[in-house]
């Protein structure tokens, strides 16, 4: 008590954490801008979702922003299993399974090869490694269109043109430069002494890869997976060039549904089909987001 008497002004003097104003000008500008931008990006999505849940009579009224009066899942069902694409009238489901059958092997094969490539380039400096790497990276800058036709011929010659496996090979090759770069840079960033220690311990190329490097590399594998799944799932060009109508991936089928000229334009079905196609990359983002940031190498070097 004596203290407060001696220092009567103590309570008004600055002390402890500095108070922060919640409604400062900076905050208003920052959050205001964020809100506007979020609104701008979410509006089309909102329109798509509400339209896909309306019946055609309701759409014809023209109130695209109003929520559905009567919610119907009919357009979703139709988009999935009945919509017509060219000759087939079994909806997007065929394209969905085709896309799965293309994406899964492409992602696995390309990541397996690229990770071993990156590991070899980062840790086992062989003669000409730098030249090899430069050529590989150069490949990332060649426009796809230039290589479309030569690849058609090459696939035809090995008898894989128009097949799923042909497309898988194409995706694997085109994913190689960027994935190798990704893995090489990641493996280079891991402490070199770890690799040296493993060599002194008598581990060879594959043992170091599987027992030392791989367990420390989950984050980069997740990054590579996200890149490849979204890239291959969203691919249109290779899908339409290297496969036949029976094997068209989902994106090509979506285009065929939306752009079909016969009959009435069924906006609700189109919106549902588009949302269905975009669902896979979205799910990948949501599921793997957490793994993205997790650090695995903790404790390897000094803490």
């Amino acid at each position: 008590m004596a203290d407060t008497a001696v220092h009567p002004a103590a309570s008004s003097e600055p002390r402890g954490p500095k108070p922060r104003k919640k409604l400062s000008r900076n905050n208003i500008i920052i959050y205001g801008t964020l809100l506007v931008v979020a609104f701008y990006y979410l509006l089309p999505l909102y329109v798509m979702v509400v339209t896909s849940l309306k019946g055609m009579p309701e759409i014809r009224l023209g109130n695209i922003f109003s929520p559905p009066v009567e919610i119907t899942f009919e357009p979703w069902v139709k988009a999935w299993s009945q919509a017509c694409t060219g000759l087939n009238c079994d909806g997007l489901s065929r394209g969905f399974w085709n896309s799965i059958r293309i994406t899964v092997p492409s992602v696995i094969v390309s990541i397996v090869i690229a990770s071993v490539n990156g590991y070899a380039l980062a840790n086992w400096k062989f003669k000409g490694a730098d030249a090899f790497f430069t050529i590989l990276i150069f490949g990332a800058f060649i426009p796809y269109q230039v290589m479309l036709y030569p690849i058609v011929i090459m696939l035809r010659e090995i008898g894989l043109y128009g097949t799923l496996w042909g497309l898988v090979i194409v995706h694997t090759i085109f994913g190689m430069p960027i994935l190798t770069l990704l893995f090489r840079n990641y493996f280079t960033s891991l402490p070199e002494e770890l690799f040296k220690a493993a060599r002194v311990d008598g581990a060879g190329f594959w043992r170091i890869y599987f027992q030392i490097m791989l367990p420390m590399s989950l984050p980069i594998f997740v990054v590579a997976m996200i890149l490849q799944v979204t890239g291959i799932w969203n691919d249109f060009l290779f899908g339409v060039v290297y496969t036949k109508p029976d094997l068209y991936p989902m994106t090509v089928q979506l285009n065929n549904i939306v752009n079909s000229v016969q009959g009435v334009k069924e906006y609700n079905v189109n919106m549902a089909a588009t949302l269905l196609t975009g669902l896979v990359p979205l799910v990948i983002y949501f599921v793997s987001g957490k793994l993205f940031v997790r650090g695995i190498a903790a404790g390897a070097v000094k803490g």
Binding site: E193, L194, R199, V200, G299, A300
Partner: protein, 361 residues
Amino acid sequence: MESSISIRDLSLSFGAVKVLRNLNIEIGQGEFLVLLGSSGCGKSTLLNCIAGLLDVTDGQIFIQGKNVTWAEPSDRGIGMVFQSYALYPQMTVEGNLSFGLKNAGMAKDEIKKRVARAAEILQIEPLLKRKPAALSGGQRQRVAIGRALVRDVDVFLFDEPLSNLDAKLRADLRVEIKRLHQRLKNTMIYVTHDQVEALTLADRIAIMKGGNIQQLASPNEIYNKPANKYVADFIGSPSMNFLEGVIDISGAPQFNSDVMSFDISGYEFVDGPTGGPAWFGIRPEHIVTGELLANAPVQFDAEVELVEPMGSDTLVWAKVEGVPMHFRMDGQAEVRSGDQMRIGFDPARANIFNKETELRI
């Protein structure tokens, strides 16, 4: 005695950069050799060459009489401890210790026995089930040493093992490494830039600079009879005082500089008295004050400029005839900047180097 490691004409270049130049070292059985030098002198590179982690450009390496120049690291009979510990983060301590043995295809119960023995020696038994992330720095380094220990090798290589630890832990582990060496009697090669570690641990020290070995000798000799000015300057903290001048041997040997000249009769020249331009070096701890001046043939008046009390002793920066000099005094000494005092030294403890070649004369 047969040598444990023999390095013959070893050279290493990265492109045009010569990192190691024609090194020749013989290391005896059970010897503790320290490679000492500032960063970039090639000491870690030399260690990596011995370990087989770098291919040499020229020369040979023999370990236990076997030419291992082309051998894989794991076939050389070496264990290595790294500065960053380099523990495998996803394995337990036990996994870390047994990884090398598993790779060699050793039987399970033998692995168990070896791990238990290493854990007992290093006192890390309670930590065996933990992951490296759950260990402190000192514990991690102990595990890293254990990883070399279990392999039961003839030669231990240490690459600045204590540099990442704080000062106190470093001193503790230093003693432990010395104890380990006395117990195991393995050959050890130890790379460091810390001269205290070098002087305390080594049987012999190799001081390196620019890929060359400047001097390879016992700590005592390195400290008292440095072979050249670089070694003299590098060893000792704070570093040696140097005076520039000319040795005159027309009469009794004498050192003359622009501002002072004194008799250096007590000094033992390498090849008898040699004249000419020279550096005169005297260590701060060999400059005396007060009562000890009685034994100091050479004496000056000094003006104190700066005092650094260090507890156990006091470091004084002073000027003698305008020439800066620093010296050590007792920790309790009452000195202030501006004080005038008498200092002196015995030329027998000095080091004199040729001005041109910087070699000891």
